[in-house]
Structure formats: C-alpha cells, structure tokens
C-alpha cells in the first residue's frame, strides 16, 4: 500500500516463517497480495506459537470440563471455582528460546508474561512456580544459564511481589543447546468478577495501557517457533528487557480499573502484542477493530506500522472500555504513572483495519485471521516400545550405601534450596508450606481454606514411552497434591517438544497428549489452560519430550495439611500403593 515498504517476494514470505501453501491461503483469503504490514500480521497470527497449528487437533482430545470449571482453555488463563464465591486462575507458559539467548531477561520476561495472563482475568497473583530444564551440569554453558535463569525468575517475581513457591529443576545433556523455562502463575479472583478478552458493543474505545512501545523482540514470536541453528546467537536484538516495576504498577492499576466497572474486555499484549490482542478481542466478540497507530505511546522515533504491530515490548495491555468511564480510567492510570491512550475503536464490519497518520496499512478479515489459521494433521509414528530390562540383568556395580550416596549427591536429586532461597517465597504472608515439600500450600483469604500447587514431569519416562510418561506426569502431580492433603482440582500443561514436522517427534507429542488425556479423564482432573512449545532442537537434535504438568488443589482447612518431614522418633513408617 505504500511505496517505501519492501516488495513481497518468496524470500520475504519465507523469512516470515510462512510456508508457500500458507501464503497461498493468505492470497485466497484476501484476494490480493498482502501489504508488508499485513504479511507481518499474518506471520504473527499464524505461527506455531499463536495458532497451535501442529497441536490443536490433538489438544482438542483433552478433557476440559468439570462441574467446577468456570473457564477452560481459550482465554488468558483457566478459572476454577473453589467455593465461597472465590475462584483460582492459573496457567503455565514457556519462555525457552529467549532464556537460552539471554537467561536473565528471558526468564524474567517469561515470569512477567504469565503474571499478566493471570491478572488480565481480574485475579490478583498469589503464587508463582517454575519448571526449569538445563543441559548437563558439566556442559560449559550450564552454570551461566542456571544462574542467569534463576536470578531472572527471582528478579522479576521478587520485585513484582508474588511468592514463588514451587517448581522443578532438571539436568540432561539433551537440553545442552535448548533449555526449558516454563513459568506458572496462580491468582485469586471473585468467581463472579472474571474478565475476558471478548469485546462487545460497536464504537467503543480501544485503549492502550502500560509501558511504551519500542522495537523490542520484533520477530520474537516467530523466533519462538523456529529451530535453533548456529547463527541464532547472532540474531540477538529480539530479546526484550523486563520491567517488573512497571508490571507491578500495571497490576494495581488494572485491578483498580476493573473494580471501577469501566472494563468491557481486556487482553494482555504478549507475543506480537498489539496484533494478537486486538485481533483476539475483536474476533471473539464478532466485531471489527480499527486502530490508529499514531496514538500508540512509543519509546523510539519513526516506528513503522509493521514495527508497532509486531513489537513485543513488555508490560502492556489492551482494553475496551465503557465510553462514559474513560475519564475515570484515565485518572487511575495517570495516578499509577502509566501510559493511557485511546488507540482505536470497535466497529461492526468484522475487519481489522490499521491506520498510521490516516494511511491505511492493513485491512484484513478479523475472524479469518484467527480462526482460519492453518491447522495440520501432521504425520506421526508411534514411539517404539523400549525393551523391558529385568533387574536381574543389571550389574550392581556398587553397594547400596555407595549407590545411595551417588544418588543424593547427583545434580538431578540434590537439594534445590540454592534455587528457591533466591525466590521470595513468603511475601503476602500466606505461605503455609514453602518450597521443598511435595506441593506448596498457600492460605486463601485468611483461611482456613488453602490452595496446593505443584509442577511435575519426568522426561526420560516420556522418551521411553510417551503415553505412559504423559500419564505418569499427571499422576505424579495428583499424588503431590493429595500428599499435602489437598483435593486436586485441575491442570495446566506446557508441552515442550522438538520439531513436529518430524514424524517421530510428532509421535512423542501425540503419545504424551493421549497419556495426559487418559490420566486426566480417569482422575476427573480437567485441563483448563496450557501452552505448547515446539521446535526445541539444536542442530537437528531434539530435547527430551517434556510435557510439564502444573496442577492446583484445594484444602478446606490448612491446619490439616500434611508436610514431608518426619515428626517424632519411634513412629511407624507406612508404605502405601504398590
């Protein structure tokens, strides 16, 4: 639509991560060649990270309902009723690739993103967890990555002011070139005051809130879906810097704004911020959206429409407001020192129109942008069953005593205190069980009710048998909740796998999802939210299949919660199960 933008060539299309058949689909959808900005918008909406094009088919097989489920997958986070008018809101999300490139900021912004997902729903975050996988301890980068990631998780959560109460840390050489950082956040809301992304009403203001937009992470969403090659460390400026201080202000301002009755719809700006959030609000509400980008608060001069639409600057939100409440809303944001700008409005034409200084930069059908993303039934092969090994055939190289010492001294099993002592796990004054036990327990609204939470998976089981490994991860999470005396409620999952275009990897994904589904159905343990991270490979070598399971349970009375420590000498020890 404008002369000075690059011509749309096959190379440019490929550089946006769009396959030729996907580009064909775009052409037939809009009936003409897309503009540069439009191409960027499609690449953001249709990449693996946002569209779940390889996994959607299989995710649909997971059980997502239950009498207590208020909101299952499809919103920023899942919502479950915990009685007395309260609801728990939670989700887990990955920030794997950015954390490998810049461990501190990558992990920090991962935590920031998931906290935003939770408070966007109207919940105050009350706990955070993190599931981390690093390469072999002796790998030259591991030390640096561990210390950077742990400092980043802590740096963000500690400053934001949420207790980080649990998680897991594992080491394996298959993560040497591709670590995993999965962050989970848990919030509390009133069951009748949950906020959604779905906009309603024509001609309402679309409002931009939070920090200013810079050229951060342009193409970050595409990067999250691309395999690493040796050049990745060069493609660096895509990493964003987190500002937990701004996020804390955003939290307080959003909750205050929600309480004032001003909000029609709200969506956080995550990957491909403005694009995904605006399209989602419109598409879910069967409305069009018009944006006027000159009103977007920016941090750098001369930003183009393309850059503004794809920027991944952190700590930003988009809202649709009741027009008569605009002044109330503005006052709240000014008080908290945050930007507040009307950047567009809702329309009735089901188009996503983006203007910059009056010039039309994109004009796309809004429903199709989201709903008609490609969806693949990728070929997959069942993982061959590993040969069972009889105990009798395994040489006992060392005695029991030595074996035990080796085990407890190993990186895999040693104490994680070094990690969780860097996380503020007591802030808010409700941490009944700190990290170190089976599940963390926090008190709800002064008690006696409490919430238990855990994150689990054993990747080598999933590698040996994806179906059994998927089942086992859910079962372990369930056991960890029941072990502290909680009634398990629901699950969030974070499916970390290699390149799904390889049938063996796709087979791992399918197997694990089937296993998770089977276990969740058997246990009445619905999946209410989650995230998929694919293409976790370096130079063709995939990580271990790692479907992290986050789970939440409820306790009626925290004083009855059980802890892991032996209490007195001379008491009987019982072994339960087989």
């Amino acid at each position: 639509m404008t002369a000075h933008e690059p011509a749309i060539t096959p190379d440019l299309v490929a550089a946006h991560g769009l396959k030729p058949d996907e580009y064909e689909r775009i052409l037939s959808l809009i009936g003409r060649e897309p503009s540069f900005t439009e191409l960027g918008i499609f690449s953001a909406m249709w990449n693996e990270h946002c569209s779940y094009k390889s996994s959607k088919l299989w995710l649909k097989t997971l059980p997502i309902d239950g009498p207590h489920v208020i909101q299952g997958p499809g919103e920023n986070a899942g919502v479950v009723d915990i009685g007395d008018g309260d609801a728990v809101v939670f989700k887990m999300e990955s920030h794997n690739h950015p954390s490998f490139i810049e461990p501190y900021q990558g992990a920090a912004t991962g935590v920031g993103g998931i906290l935003r997902d939770v408070f966007t729903m109207g919940a105050r975050p009350v706990a955070a967890l993190n599931a981390l996988r690093f390469g072999a301890p002796e790998h030259p980068r591991t030390r640096h990555l561990v210390s950077g990631v742990v400092a980043g998780v802590g740096g963000y959560g500690n400053s934001f002011g949420v207790p980080t109460v649990g998680g897991l840390v594992g080491f394996h050489t298959r993560y040497d070139g591709n670590i995993l950082v999965n962050a989970m956040a848990v919030g509390l809301a009133k069951a009748d005051a949950i906020f959604y992304a779905k906009a309603s009403g024509v001609g309402l203001p679309v409002v931009y809130l939070g920090s200013k937009t810079g050229r951060d992470g342009i193409h970050g969403a595409t990067m999250a879906s691309a395999e690493f090659d040796e050049g990745s460390e060069e493609k660096r400026p895509t990493v964003q810097v987190g500002d937990p201080f701004a996020e804390k202000l955003l939290l307080e301002a959003c909750l205050e704004l929600m309480a004032s009755g001003s909000v029609v719809a709200i969506q956080d700006m995550g990957a491909a911020g403005l694009t995904c959030s605006a399209v989602e609000m419109g598409a879910k509400g069967d409305l069009g959206i018009r944006l006027d980008l000159e009103n977007v608060p920016v941090r750098e001069d001369g930003m183009t429409a393309y850059e503004m639409m794809l920027s991944e600057s952190q700590e930003r939100m988009l809202m649709v407001l009741h027009p008569e409440k605009e002044d109330v809303a503005r006052a709240i944001f000014v008080k908290w020192g945050l930007d507040f700008a009307v950047v567009g409005h809702t329309t009735d034409d089901l188009r996503f129109k983006v203007y910059l200084n009056g010039e039309l930069k994109a004009d796309l059908p809004i429903k199709e942008l989201g709903d008609e993303a490609p969806e693949y039934d990728r070929p997959w092969v069942e993982t061959p069953k590993a040969q069972a090994v009889a105990a009798a055939n395994v040489d006992a190289k060392v005695g029991t005593r030595e074996a035990l010492l080796t085990l407890i001294g190993s990186a895999e099993l040693s104490s994680r205190r070094w990690v969780w002592e860097q996380y503020d796990h007591i802030i808010l004054g409700d941490t009944v069980q700190k990290p170190g036990g089976d599940s963390a327990v926090i008190r709800v609204n002064g008690g006696p009710k409490g919430l238990a939470m855990t994150a689990d998976v054993t990747p080598r089981y999933c590698e040996a048998d994806p179906f059994e490994g998927g089942k086992q991860a859910v079962a372990e999470a369930w056991r960890n909740l029941t072990a502290v005396g909680a009634r398990p409620l629901a699950v969030t999952d974070n499916l970390n796998f290699g390149n799904p275009e390889k049938p063996e990897i796709m087979g791992q994904l399918v197997g694990c999802i089937k296993g998770i589904g089977e276990a969740c159905r058997a246990l009445d343990f619905p999946v209410v939210s989650g995230n998929v991270s694919l293409y976790n490979e370096t130079q063709g070598r995939a990580i271990l299949p790692t479907p992290t399971i986050g789970a939440v349970g409820v306790l009626d009375d925290i004083s009855k919660s059980a802890t892991i420590a032996f209490k007195r000498e001379g008491e009987a020890i019982l072994l339960i199960g087989d």
């Binding site: 400053s159 804390k248 860097q422 802030i427």
Partner: protein, 229 residues
C-alpha cells in the same frame, strides 16, 4: 495507636505490614500515597514497607527517599514520632538520612529468602518492649541488598550508643558466622536513630504474625508498639 503505612510505587509488602499492624495493634493503619505531602493528623507511627520502590533502580530506596511525603516523615521523626522501616523501608531511611550507613548487595550477590534468627539487643525501646532481654526471635529475610555498611566512626558511635537493634544469630543465639548471610558489618540487622524513635531493620517481622504461617515472633513487635504509643 494511629499508624500510617506509606505506599510508594513498587512497594509490595504494604498489605503484609498492614495485616501485622491490625493483628498487633487492633486497628488498621492509614495507607498514605507517596505523592501526598501530609501525614494523617494524629499519626503516632509511620511505617515504610518492604518492596522495590521505583523498581529499586539506581540504588535501593534512593528514589523513594526523595518522594514528596518524605518531608513529612522527616518532620514527624524530628518531633520524636515513631518511624519503622522494614527492608526496602530501611533502605529508604538510610537514603533519606534518617538513619546512618547504607545497605549494599548481599555478599554472595544473590537474593536471599529464608528463616532468620535475630538477637534482640535491647528491650527498653518502644519497638522492642514486648521482648525479653537477650531474646532470640525468628523472623524471615527476603532481600538482595541487606549488607549493612558504615564507616568505622559511625559504627563505633552506633555501638557505643546502643543503637544496634538486632543482630543476625543462629537458633541458639550465637551471633554472626554463617547466621550472617548478607555480610553486614558487626552482624547488624537493624539500627535505631539517636533518639531511638526511628528503627530500620532488614528482616520481616510482618511475615511472622500467625502460628499457621510460620510463627508469631514478629507479632510481638507490633503489639509492643501499640502499648508504647
């Protein structure tokens, strides 16, 4: 007992300390915004809560120490009014000149969150009247920059005047050594102003106010304040 909690942008333990004040004194504190210029009339105690005011960018507490409300806090302190700064609040007090010294990065350069024992150095102040002489209390630490430092003359003066409020110790009351995780000089965990009406401390008594969540050693401080005011 009229308490006022100052809320800075980035404060994050203001709710925790408000809960502790309610539990200890029986009444809820006023929450005062950093941009205000006056304290509520009749304020007996000002509390500067923990957190990361202004992100703790530049130096911890540096920007908050220069917030509009701080003139009123200084005036209150000069009149002999009680001021309690916890963690970030302590950092704000030293940056604003209400207490001597400075808090620098923990000696291991990492954030430390753990249960911590403290030795109560004196029990004849309005903050500590609820404790027994020499009592060892259990509170919680959660900070990245709690390494107390001051020049030798200042330290000598603080020690000489009995202005050290708490020292890091182990459960048995042995001061220092491994119990001093952040590297503070003389194992100092808290200090008083000259007139003993301003107290800054790194650990969090407000997170130990309830038997169901860790313990109650922190509650004693707040309950004692109610009686003292």
């Amino acid at each position: 007992m009229n308490a006022a909690v100052i809320v800075f942008p980035g404060s994050n333990r203001e709710r925790d300390v408000a809960a502790a004040l309610r539990a200890g004194t029986g009444s809820a504190p006023a929450m005062v915004w950093h941009a205000d210029t006056d304290l509520p009339a009749g304020t007996d105690l000002v509390v500067l809560p923990g957190g990361f005011s202004y992100g703790d960018y530049l130096r911890c507490g540096a920007i908050a120490a220069r917030a509009p409300i701080m003139d009123a806090v200084r005036a209150h302190a000069a009149r002999g009014g009680l001021v309690l700064g916890i963690c970030n609040g302590f950092q704000i007090l030293v940056e604003s000149g209400l207490l001597p010294g400075i808090l620098t990065r923990n000696k291991n350069l990492r954030f430390i969150c753990k249960t911590q024992h403290l030795k109560v150095e004196r029990v004849d102040t309005r903050f500590t009247s609820g404790y027994q002489p020499g009592q060892v209390i259990e509170v919680a630490c959660a900070h990245g920059e709690g390494n107390y430092f001051a020049d030798p003359e200042t330290i000598e003066r603080l020690e000489g005047d009995g202005r050290v409020a708490f020292r890091y110790c182990d459960a048995a009351g042995n001061v220092g050594g491994l119990a001093n995780a952040n590297g503070s000089i003389n194992d100092i965990a808290g200090v008083y102003s000259e007139k003993l009406n301003v107290l800054g401390m790194m650990p969090h008594p407000e997170n130990l106010i309830d038997g169901a969540v860790g313990g109650t050693d922190g509650l004693v401080l707040f309950a004692g304040l109610a009686k003292a005011a």
